[in-house]
């Protein structure tokens, strides 16, 4: 071993030169990106986004018109509102601290990590721009959303439109900044995940308890203090302004400064992992692949399936390896050969799927339970308060379904494995739904229990409709998942036109809307699952609800049948069209 050692200290390049080089690199790349940009495509996207956004705002505006204004007293709103609205800021803090513990929220290119962050240049100066961009994007997006919401609120509550838009816009920006800055600070302070969970839970519990107490007029004095109140009160500046609320802005600015200052201490390990996943996530989002987006977000959170399934105490005993003779196992050859009367066994799929679901990590099970609770709240409020809460129910049904379909997702994402099994794919796919359906039974029962807690008048109806609802609601995710399965490639469409010619001749408006429809279709299918709740709200008789339940069961059966028979039906349909073309020719 050499005893040679460094006689001279390491020389670090001049930082001003390095920063100038970095700026040069970024400017060159930005110029190139702008040069490669398809401005027509961007303009079309802006046009489409604007059109859909405007339609959505008009629809929501029409829906809320008069729905909340009559019963709201401004003084009451100023008393009870801040602690409830403040829940949003505290939720942003909770999500931020959890995201930070998981390595979020900033991501940069892997090449930047390898070539720039490993170079002798101040990491703070390198990370300043990505962190600032993330803060700016979050503040802008939520600020814009807040301003639009403020405009809508101004039609129902006293105060000028400008004041409401500004106040809600500022509040939205604070929520965005709180999330990103908290995540960056938690990440750089190396907050462990368990501590992040505790901090998030404590903050939410504190704010929630105060909001609950104020809502029920049970809280007075210092007990009314909660972390999100000042920001919540700021959102109500459309009614009246209170100087002390500016402290919320000061805190947000201080957090922004801290995040920018600490940005250079973000861990490379987490940045590298996020860098790889976020590029895939952006691509999936670009092609409106909702399922992949959800899957990649799980990976971003480092959410791994458990090695040992829940409830399994011991490692299963296995036979000893067979003795190898001349490269062949001596004892297993005969026993592993397939017998002639072999047929597929549903129990094999069931065993595989039950283990898959029992491997779901605690965080995911908690998320499924949370979605069930949100669905329950949404259903109860849809019946008793406003049909707008149906959106909450729909979101919960869709995402609970998506979270529960792990076995089917695993199968579809590995088509080579499925194709290696001498069984019809549809049979395998359909049988994968059994375990998920059983998990969804628990989701439905939990949702029903929460719905009854929120509105005891619902009573037995909740438990009667819950399970068919969650099954039907999961059909959207089932369709989007099964559509990801590969199909036999064909150069022509059903009508016989070449696929390339078809895609190139489609006008952009149609292509854009067909893309949007492809994204929305699974959500629309899941929306069928909410029908009994709306029937209960508007028809309010048990017979109608019963009929809607029968319709749901029929609908679910049809979708499951489609999963089972998709391939043969597709072949039959194609043959039918080809025979038709041949006959007409």
């Amino acid at each position: 071993m050499s005893s040679d050692a460094f006689a001279e200290p390491v020389v670090v390049p001049d930082q001003r030169t390095s920063k100038a080089t970095l700026n040069d690199l970024r400017n060159t790349r930005q110029r190139r990106r702008l040069g490669d940009t398809d401005w027509y495509d961007i303009a079309y996207r802006v046009y489409l986004f604007g059109l859909i956004g405007l339609a959505l705002v008009v629809w929501v505006s029409d829906a809320v018109d008069g729905a909340i204004g009559d019963g709201i007293d401004s003084a009451d709103l100023l008393t009870r509102g801040p602690s409830i609205i403040g829940l949003l800021v505290v939720a942003a803090f909770a999500l931020g601290v959890r995201s930070g513990a998981d390595g979020g929220p900033v991501s940069i290119e892997v090449a930047d990590i390898r070539h720039v962050l490993l170079a002798p240049i101040s990491r703070r100066s390198v990370m300043l721009r990505p962190v600032a961009q993330r803060l700016r994007a979050a503040a802008f997006a939520l600020g814009l959303g807040g301003a639009v919401l403020g405009q809508l609120i101004a039609t129902e509550v006293e105060g000028s439109r400008t004041a409401w838009a500004a106040a809600c816009g500022a509040f939205g920006a604070i929520v965005g900044v709180t999330f990103v800055a908290t995540a960056v600070i938690a990440h750089t302070l190396r907050v462990p995940r368990w501590l992040a969970t505790i901090l998030a839970a404590l903050a939410l519990a504190w704010q929630g308890a105060v909001a609950w107490g104020i809502w029920n007029d049970e809280t007075t004095g210092l007990a009314r203090i909660a972390p999100g109140n000042l920001a919540g009160r700021l959102a109500l500046w459309g009614i009246s302004q209170r100087p002390i609320d500016v402290i919320a802005i000061v805190i947000a600015v201080a957090m922004t400064a801290a995040a920018l200052f600490l940005g250079g201490q973000l861990r490379l390990e987490a940045l590298a992992r996020r860098g790889e996943l976020v590029s895939q996530l952006r691509f999936a989002a670009t092609v409106q692949d909702l399922r992949t987006v959800v899957q990649l977000r799980r990976q971003l959170r480092s959410e791994m399936l458990r090695t040992r399934p829940w409830g399994q105490r011991h490692t299963p005993t296995r036979p000893a390896p067979a003795v190898m003779m001349n490269g062949r196992a001596t004892s297993t050859a005969a026993s592993t050969s397939a017998s002639s009367d072999w047929s597929p066994s549903a129990s094999v799929i069931w065993r595989r799927d039950s283990r898959s679901l029992r491997r779901l990590p605690a965080a995911r099970l908690f998320r499924i339970a949370l979605l069930a609770a949100i669905g329950g709240v949404g259903a109860a409020l849809t019946i008793s308060a406003s049909p707008l809460f149906g959106l909450l129910l729909l979101g919960a049904l869709f995402f609970a379904g998506l979270e529960s379909l792990e076995p089917l997702s695993q199968e579809i994402d590995r088509p080579d494995l499925s194709d290696g099994i001498p069984i019809e794919r549809g049979w395998i796919y359909a049988h994968h739904l059994v375990a998920s359906a059983i998990l969804l039974v628990f989701v439905g029962l939990l949702g029903a229990a929460v719905a009854v807690l929120v509105d005891p008048d619902i009573g037995a109806i909740a438990f009667a409709v819950a399970i068919p609802m969650v099954w039907a609601g999961a059909m959207g995710p089932v369709v989007v998942t099964v559509l990801d399965a590969p199909t036999a490639p064909s150069p022509t469409t059903l009508l016989g036109t070449p696929r390339d010619a078809e895609t190139s001749l489609v006008p952009p408006e149609f292509a854009g809307f067909s893309t949007a429809l492809r994204t929305l279709l699974p959500v629309l299918i899941s929306a069928i699952g909410t029908v009994p709740v709306f029937v209960a709200r508007f028809a309010d008789d048990a017979a109608s609800v019963g009929r809607s339940l029968i319709a749901l069961v029929l609908f679910t059966t049809i979708v499951v049948l489609w999963v089972r028979r998709r391939d043969p039906w597709g072949i039959k349909l194609r043959n039918f069209f080809e025979e038709g073309r041949a006959a007409s020719a």
Partner: protein, 283 residues
């Protein structure tokens, strides 16, 4: 190769430290060497100078775990300046984990490590160490030449062009220098990454599986570059499965399941056994 040799990618620091008679020691003075006098007179440098010169790489109880699974058990290692180390071991033995920790891409679960006396990941350590990873990574929108320019300049090298030309010529990429490396095959990517690792000044080079995907020309070029760098006093650590290249090294370290199973003269080692994880005591 004489042209490449006279313009070979070595830091001024390395040249100054090594034999005065070396042809490369008369080479051009890089911008990096002239810069940052503050670094030379900083408190860290003074403290280290009073305690004696540090080794190129030193780890103290350095360990890495992924959850409950240990990837590298606590490791004490001291690698002197100018050593040429071969790091071998089976898949999953901890070679890449060790390298990534030394370069600052992975955080140790326990322990500490220094490069040239500076904590891993510090700006001085980053200035001292060049890392050629097993998976080359490039910008989608920069050519090979643009990569070389920016990497050299980020490391404070102004007179990089001739050096880059020699490197590119040496690995046979001259015709592709204005192409995007992300469109390259695995072997060409590896060659492009090679040029980028050598175009910047360095005292310590960590190389992970450098021969993967390389053709004969590429392997020869890499071995020559390594020999030249070592001749100029750079410390080299090469993680490899190519046992034939081990004989070039002055010291062999074998890892198995995150533990050192051999540390000594390559000539005394049973390489086949070591790559299968068999522990071998040093003579």
């Amino acid at each position: 190769m004489s042209n490449s040799r006279s313009n070979r990618p070595q830091s001024e620091r390395t040249r100054a430290r090594t034999s005065a008679g070396s042809p490369s020691s008369a080479g051009k003075k890089s911008g990096a060497a002239a810069a940052s006098p503050a670094a030379k007179s900083g408190p860290t440098a003074r403290a280290k100078a009073s305690a004696g010169p540090p080794p190129a790489i030193e780890t103290v109880e350095l360990a890495k775990r992924y959850g409950d699974a240990p990837a590298l058990w606590p490791l004490d290692l001291r690698i002197g300046a100018g050593e040429r180390i071969s790091l071998i071991g089976h898949n999953g033995s901890g070679k890449t984990t060790l390298m990534r920790m030394l370069v600052g891409m992975l955080e140790p679960s326990e322990g500490t490590a220094t490069i040239a006396g500076h904590p891993i990941g510090s700006i001085e350590a980053r200035a001292a160490v060049s890392y050629l990873a097993d998976q080359p990574v490039f910008y989608d929108d920069l050519t090979v030449w643009e990569h070389l320019e920016y990497i050299a300049r980020l490391h404070g090298t102004d007179d990089w062009e001739q050096q880059a030309v020699d490197l590119v010529d040496m690995v046979g990429l001259m015709d592709r220098v204005d192409d995007l490396p992300t469109t390259f095959s695995r072997g060409l990517k590896q060659k492009a990454a090679l040029t980028m690792a050598f175009v910047r000044p360095f005292d310590v080079m960590l190389i992970d599986e450098p021969f993967v995907g390389l053709d004969r020309l590429g392997k020869e070029a890499l071995l020559e570059l390594l020999t030249l760098a070592h001749g100029d006093g750079a410390t080299l650590v090469v993680a490899t499965h190519e046992l034939s290249s081990v004989k070039e090294s002055s010291r062999l370290i074998a890892l198995s399941s995150g533990e050192v199973t051999y540390d000594g003269d390559p000539a005394d080692a049973d390489l086949a056994a070591l790559t299968e994880g068999v522990r071998q005591d040093r003579d």
